[in-house]
């Protein structure tokens, strides 16, 4: 394939073992011709050994030893395929144990979420859970696949009923772009190839939908935020006075000559140059990795943020976060954690659990303050110093945090700034 301007789309798939999620991914890979001969050979052999008729597509997503033995997915696995229109990264997340933790992980960088519903069962608790997480993580596009249409005689009525059920509960969630597609992953209807069995369905197949989603505006291009990762000070004669601030633009657009402020100090200056690798550029935008030099010699280091003078984030020491607990060890009251936010790191304390969320009923419980693995709650956090914050709804990159347990160094929670 030629080098071209194709975009990269990341999506996550959610569903349980029985929804046919693995079969769907296998079908996407197989029908888009992303499976290699030796992979096909190995899967055909295993299918035969297990006594399946034909090739079991689900086996293409098989992973670690334990997963194959138990027939389950333990951890997020990443799959890749390319079509003439786009490159795709699938974050394949398990539907059963530790579902929240893994789905949140997979969803955090996704442009789209594919949610599977079994046409025979309609909307179930798990559908609500997955949709809630997709909305909480602010995934820009949601594609609801109503699967196993072959088992309900490809009925348009069944399909419409399920859409109705979905819309009823999802009205409580914030979702921008939701689409529905009737499919059969097993037989291939409307996955890559248009179904002959559902002429009543006029819209795109799953693949063509994924190929055509408008994702250029998924990243915030208005609020310019540049967290400094490191400072480049070359030792060579030629660049004696060079002080470049290296980082990846979190959002927005920067141009040479822009008036900027360096936070938290608040000193202002102008952008003198922008480098993308060895090349000097006039403008740069998210998510480019660049290095920026300023007209004035001011003190800038890792954890600082370069923003436009007239568009600055909030600076807060106490703020509310929707927190997802990811660790086996439950939350410790008033315990201290390390908080990571952009390239910044401080110490933090959870001051209060405001309410816990029941992700099956969307009800809030303000009595329960115990947070365990997979729990989601709104909490108040206090940090040792002010952070430069945006709300997660406005900015995924500057609105997200993780908490690290100082005793184990493990990542114990992920948070979205309210």
């Amino acid at each position: 394939m030629e080098i071209n301007n194709n975009q990269l789309l990341r999506f996550t798939t959610a569903g349980s073992v029985d929804d046919g999620k693995s079969t769907l991914i296998g079908r996407l890979l197989f029908d888009s011709k992303s499976i290699f001969e030796d992979q096909l050979d190995s899967v055909s052999k295993t299918s035969e050994k297990k006594g399946h008729d034909g090739v079991d597509l689900a086996l293409f997503t098989d992973g670690l030893k334990d997963e194959r033995e138990q027939g389950i997915t333990i951890d997020v696995a990443y799959r890749y395929f390319t079509t003439p229109k786009r490159k795709f990264i699938i974050a394949d997340t398990p539907g059963h144990i530790q579902y929240t933790r893994n789905m949140v992980t997979g969803a955090s960088t996704a442009n789209a979420a594919v949610i599977l519903i079994d046409a025979r069962h309609g909307v179930i608790e798990q559908t609500k859970r997955h949709s809630f997480i997709a909305s909480l993580l602010n995934i820009p596009h949601l594609i609801v696949c109503i699967n196993k249409m072959d088992l309900v005689d490809y009925s348009e009525e069944v399909y419409n009923n399920i859409i109705g059920q979905f819309e009823e509960f999802s009205s409580k969630l914030l979702m921008k772009d939701v689409r529905f597609i009737p499919i059969s992953a097993l037989l291939g209807d409307n996955v890559v190839n248009r179904s002959e069995n559902m002429k009543w369905y006029q819209n795109g197949t799953l693949l063509s939908t994924l190929e055509n989603l408008h994702i250029s505006s998924d990243i915030n291009k208005i609020d310019a935020r540049f967290p400094v990762q490191t400072v480049l000070r070359p030792q060579s004669e030629e660049f004696r006075d060079y002080r470049g601030y290296a980082g990846r633009i979190a959002s927005g657009i920067y141009r040479v000559g822009d008036e900027v402020a360096v936070l938290p100090s608040g000193f202002t200056s102008k952008i003198k140059s922008i480098n993308a690798g060895e090349e000097e550029v006039e403008e740069a935008y998210a998510p480019m990795s660049v290095s920026i030099t300023l007209e004035d010699d001011i003190d800038v280091s890792r954890g600082d943020m370069i923003v436009k003078k007239n568009n600055q984030p909030e600076q807060e020491q106490e703020f509310d976060v929707m927190l997802c607990w990811l660790n086996n060890d439950a939350i410790k009251p008033r315990a201290k954690y390390t908080i990571m936010h952009t390239s910044n790191e401080e110490r933090a304390m959870i001051k209060e659990v405001v309410y816990k969320m029941d992700i099956n009923t969307f009800e809030r419980d303000s009595e329960d303050s115990k947070l365990e693995m997979n729990d989601i709650a709104r909490v108040k956090i206090r940090t040792t110093r002010r952070l430069m914050l945006d709300s997660y709804r406005d900015n995924r990159n500057t609105g997200s945090i993780i908490l690290i347990d100082e005793n184990t160094n493990e990542t114990v929670a992920a948070g979205m700034i309210v």
């Binding site: 080098i3 071209n4 301007n5 194709n6 975009q7 990269l8 290699f36 001969e37 030796d38 098989d62 992973g63 670690l64 030893k65 194959r68 333990i74 951890d75 696995a77 990443y78 799959r79 890749y80 786009r86 490159k87 933790r101 893994n102 949140v104 992980t105 955090s108 960088t109 408008h214 250029s216 990762q229 490191t230 480049l232 000070r233 070359p234 030792q235 060579s236 660049f239 470049g244 980082g247 990846r248 480098n275 690798g277 060895e278 998510p287 480019m288 990795s289 890792r302 990811l326 990571m340 390239s343 990159n397 997200s400 945090i401 993780i402 690290i404 160094n409 493990e410 990542t411 992920a414």
Partner: protein, 301 residues
């Protein structure tokens, strides 16, 4: 459509540079694991971009099995010269001489698994706290589960079922003394992406990747190069073929494919028409279904 979006290669590049800078910011003494293969050459190229106009702030670490293609070593030494970075060599031969490991026996004996001990020893002696590798998730099912920042305990072991969740772009490299990390900046690249990028950036790679005449024998469905380490088996005969290598490992285990692709343009075309995975010609992965997973758990790349 707005002009402010990146194409997929630019986005992959930007992600890799971000990860490399994060390694530099979070660790004391990181190295790039350099095998002389295209993936570690790519990582080195990306590191050059990430820190320009500074020099690459990492040493390159080569785990030398002693069973090299001479072309690889020549390429390595040239690159080190050009970049002005330090080279650290961990020698498998030395590990054998010191009695740390024993040479495998039998007809398919290789030094592949022995590298684990040498690698972990080199990491320990040089006080390396992060080893950057060119591993990609599309290569192998165990690698599909890797994080960008992947924790190793004080025995150098990987615990795939107990990995730290990795969310957004927030990478947690915190570790205790004696533990270390592996970082994989090109996790999300596929073989095709690597070749397209090498072509776009015109990155120089060892001549072994281009079609050339070579003495080879046909074994396990691929062309194994003749070298002083190769023992001919019954019925095998040495032939001269025009071949190239899709991956580079030890000369004893890396099979070539028949090819006329003698420039990057032709390689990209050839790879896009390939119907077999690149590791399909690597006998180290053919030993069992979980060969890679087992080695990775012990501390392999």
């Amino acid at each position: 459509m707005s002009k402010y979006y990146l194409n997929y290669l630019d986005e992959l590049e930007s992600e890799a540079i971000y990860i490399l800078r994060e390694v530099w910011a979070q660790f004391e003494n990181p190295v790039i694991l350099f095998s002389g293969g295209k993936d570690s050459i790519l990582v080195t190229h990306l590191a050059k971009k990430a820190f320009y106009p500074s020099k690459i702030p990492f040493a390159l670490m080569h785990v030398d099995t002693g069973h090299n293609f001479p072309e690889t070593i020549e390429f390595r030494d040239d690159l080190i010269d050009k970049l002005g970075v330090k080279l650290i060599v961990g020698s498998v031969q030395e590990s054998i001489d010191k009695g740390r490991v024993a040479e495998e026996k039998g007809k398919n004996a290789t030094r592949n698994a022995l590298q684990i001990t040498t690698l972990l020893d080199a990491i320990e002696t040089n006080k390396v706290d992060c080893a950057i590798g060119g591993g990609r998730r599309d290569e192998e099912k165990a690698r599909a589960k890797e994080r960008f920042f992947s924790h190793r305990d004080d025995f150098g072991q990987w615990d795939p079922k107990n990995q730290r969740p990795e969310l957004w772009n927030l990478l947690n490299g915190k570790h205790f003394e004696g533990e270390h990390f592996r970082a994989f900046p090109i996790s999300n690249w596929t073989e095709m992406d690597v070749w397209n990028y090498i072509k776009r950036e015109n990155i120089s790679i060892p001549s072994l990747y281009f079609a050339h005449e070579r003495e080879v024998v046909f074994r396990s469905n691929s062309w194994i190069p003749v070298s002083e380490y190769l023992k001919l088996e019954e019925g095998e005969k040495i032939e001269k073929k025009k071949i190239r290598f899709r991956t580079l490992g030890d000369i004893t285990i890396t099979g070539g494919i028949e090819s006329d692709a003698d420039n990057l343009e032709k390689i990209v075309q050839e790879v896009s028409a390939m119907r077999k995975t690149e590791r399909g010609d690597r006998s180290d992965d053919k030993r069992s279904e979980t060969a890679m997973e087992d080695r990775k758990k012990q501390g392999y790349f």
